[in-house]
Amino acid sequence: MSNNIMDIQDLHAKIGEKEILKGLNLSLEAGKVHVIMGPNGAGKSTLSKAIVGHYDIEVTKGNIRYKDKDIVSMEPEERALEGIFMSFQNPVEVPGVNNAYFLRTAVNAKRKFQGLEELNAAEFLRAAKKLVVELGMKPEMLNRSLNQGFSGGEKKRNETLQMMMLEPDFIILDEIDSGLDIDALRAVSEGINRMKDGKRTFLIITHYSRILDYIAPDYVHVLKDGKIIKTAGSELVAELEETGYGALEES
């Protein structure tokens, strides 16, 4: 049995009529930090959306095996309950929905799925407030409407809070570093690093290497024209910075 948490085979996916992923193959070893790098338009976001079952994406061929199950036809919430979490690049605002109420609902949906007892409001708040302080968020953020009027940094910290509360097995960080100042980047990275326990798998989608100064990757996968064209260790980051993507050819 392989030690891969996810195996993607010959994945073809389109948005509207346009094919973006063109036979992508990717194996992700469990417990490691993986980075997907690649030029704009290569299909990085499409890949992450295909994994979480986003409505924009139509998978036309191939499969995504996660924990030895093909998840392509699973509902987004089923994938989430199975432990897949995505930190959104631009989390949407949901007016009137209390942030804490939302998060408790999500945490309890997961606990129910796992056969655990649901957290009551006090238990939940105790856990959430502790993390809120650690992430450098204002405590009142929990009482505001979900993402409404949050700054870019507040949104990313709130995503990180959700990730830490939900304790997922497979974490996709989609351009988590975009629009973050240095303090926010540090706080978010610390949160992520604390989640690394040798069992959780991270998939970091980025086209800058900035976040990689804070989170050390185990593997770097280069995505170009809808396919993974190279996989290597963290040394590839420095190499790419020097030579750019143009120099890489499909291997």
Partner: protein, 477 residues
């Protein structure tokens, strides 16, 4: 995804559309002086009441059915409606109430046995044209509070009824108010004496049961100086292919330093997705803040009816009086709602707030229509209006018609309006966190309605949320 699944989610079954199998006295369809005399005689009314009814009938005959609402429907044949239907057994105590009616109310979640009720809620149960049971009357009488059917009030408290009935909604106020004044059958009367804070929630539960029958109830609530009452009404009707007319009148009178909180959960049968059947809910509700520092607060959750046409209004006559209107109106299936409020500022320093939330799904059409009128003498009057519309899917509609007439330069008026769509992005975000699509829709809708739900008494807020979930059930897969 989205559209089809959403449609499924917003076409929730009407679960209370059962018919109560009781024997009823129903007059043959048609409206005439004789029918009005019959109703008045059935109610054993004094002759002054009959005279008023006949006056109203004469006025109604000269009036035109209004068509300015943003709603469309087949013409109503007023001669095909039966104007009186009463369960045959006339009970004088709970033991005599037809067990089938008790059962029906139990199914609706409103047990009429006092010991089984939610703590501290007194109920007047109205089936078709008559009040079948009023609970806790003795308890309330100790505080001097009158809580009874309007028919009893006409017989037992004629001086109060003569003084206040038609004082807020004149009999010729509008076409449906005039019709109601001529043929009203039952409803609730409440009088809270000076300085009394009503110790429990009062409520009326209206049930239309008989076929081809209109329900024309009349409610009159008077809060004397320094008193307070919280009153709630709920409504439901069987599932039928025919449209049924419900034309009610509600009058509230609030004296100096008094307050009435009036909450409605309206869940009349909405008809089917092709617009067949359902209640025509054409209602006139108006409150008069007569004394200084008086306050009226309307809170309504409208999920039912094929057509809703109602504008609970406040006449702010006393200086420093306050009017509030909080509304959630849901139109799904082929429902149409044209609803809103009128805030008429007459006194100085009067204050009004309007928060209206319209939710449209499937083929539902939701219209907010509101008037804020500030008279020349209403110095320092203030109004804040907020009208928000939420669209689920792309075949529904939201329309907003705010009117403003301001004759005082020292008044302050603010209006905000938004229209949003439940976006695929919001749903996806919540689902990615493991929340089911149905729970996600409910969460977004509840968030949208929060400001209004916060204004309902707690038990009713819970009921309103559950009702909203049920109404929108199936918009998700």
């Amino acid at each position: 995804m989205a559209q089809e699944e959403l449609n499924k989610a917003v076409s929730g079954e009407y679960e209370i559309g059962f018919e109560i199998d009781i024997e009823a006295d129903t007059v043959p369809p048609g409206l005439s002086e004789d029918v009005i005399r019959f109703i008045s005689a059935k109610k054993e009314e004094p002759s002054w009441m009959l005279d008023l009814r006949l006056q109203a009938y004469k006025k109604w005959q000269t009036m035109q059915e209004p068509h300015w609402g943003h709603v469309t429907y087949e013409p109503i044949d007023y001669q095909s409606i039966s104007y009186f239907s009463a369960p045959k057994q006339a009970p004088s105590s709970l033991d005599e109430v037809d067990p089938k009616i008790l059962d029906a109310y139990k199914k609706l979640g409103i047990p009429l046995e006092e010991q089984n009720q939610l703590q501290g809620i007194a109920v007047d149960a109205v089936v078709d044209s008559v009040s079948v049971k009023t609970t806790y009357t003795d308890e309330l009488q100790k505080h001097g509070i009158i809580f009874c059917s309007i028919s009893e009030a006409i017989r037992d408290y004629p001086e109060l009824v003569q003084k206040y009935m038609f004082s807020v909604v004149p009999m010729n106020d509008n076409f449906y108010a005039a019709l109601n004044s001529a043929v009203f059958t039952d409803g609730t009367f409440v009088y809270i004496p000076k300085g009394v804070r009503c110790p429990m929630e009062l409520s009326t539960y209206f049930r239309i049961n008989a076929l081809n029958t209109g329900q024309f109830e009349r409610t009159l609530i008077v809060a004397d100086e320094g008193s307070f009452v919280s009153y709630n009404e709920g409504c439901s009707a069987p599932t039928r292919d025919e449209n049924q007319l419900h034309a009610a009148v509600v009058e509230l009178v609030v004296m100096k330093d008094a307050q009435i909180k009036y909450s409605t959960i309206q869940n009349w049968y909405p008809g089917d997705e092709n617009g067949k059947g359902g209640i025509y809910n054409f209602v006139t509700k108006r409150a008069l803040c007569k004394g200084e520092n008086s306050k009226i607060s309307w809170a309504q959750v409208e999920t039912g009816s094929a057509i809703t046409w109602k504008y609970p209004s406040c006449i702010l006559q006393g200086d420093n009086s306050t009017g509030e209107f909080y509304s959630v109106a849901v139109t799904t299936l082929a429902q149409q709602a044209d609803t809103g409020t009128k805030m008429i500022h007459l006194g100085k320093n009067t204050n009004s707030t309007i928060i209206s939330k319209g939710i449209s799904a499937m083929k539902g059409q939701n219209t907010y229509r509101g008037l804020v009128k500030i008279a020349g003498k209403a110095s320092n009057a203030r109004n804040y209006s907020e009208c928000d519309s939420l669209l689920i899917g792309d075949k529904c509609g939201a329309h907003t018609f705010p009117y403003l007439e301001n004759k005082n330069a020292r008044a302050q008026v603010e209006h905000e309006a938004t229209t949003t769509k439940i976006s695929d992005e919001q749903l996806f975000y919540l689902r990615q966190r493991g929340i089911s699509e149905e729970d996600a829709v409910n969460m977004i809708v509840h968030g949208f309605c929060k400001e209004v739900f916060n204004k309902l008494p707690m038990e009713y807020a819970v009921e309103a949320k559950a009702l909203l979930n049920l109404t929108l059930e199936g918009s998700v897969g």
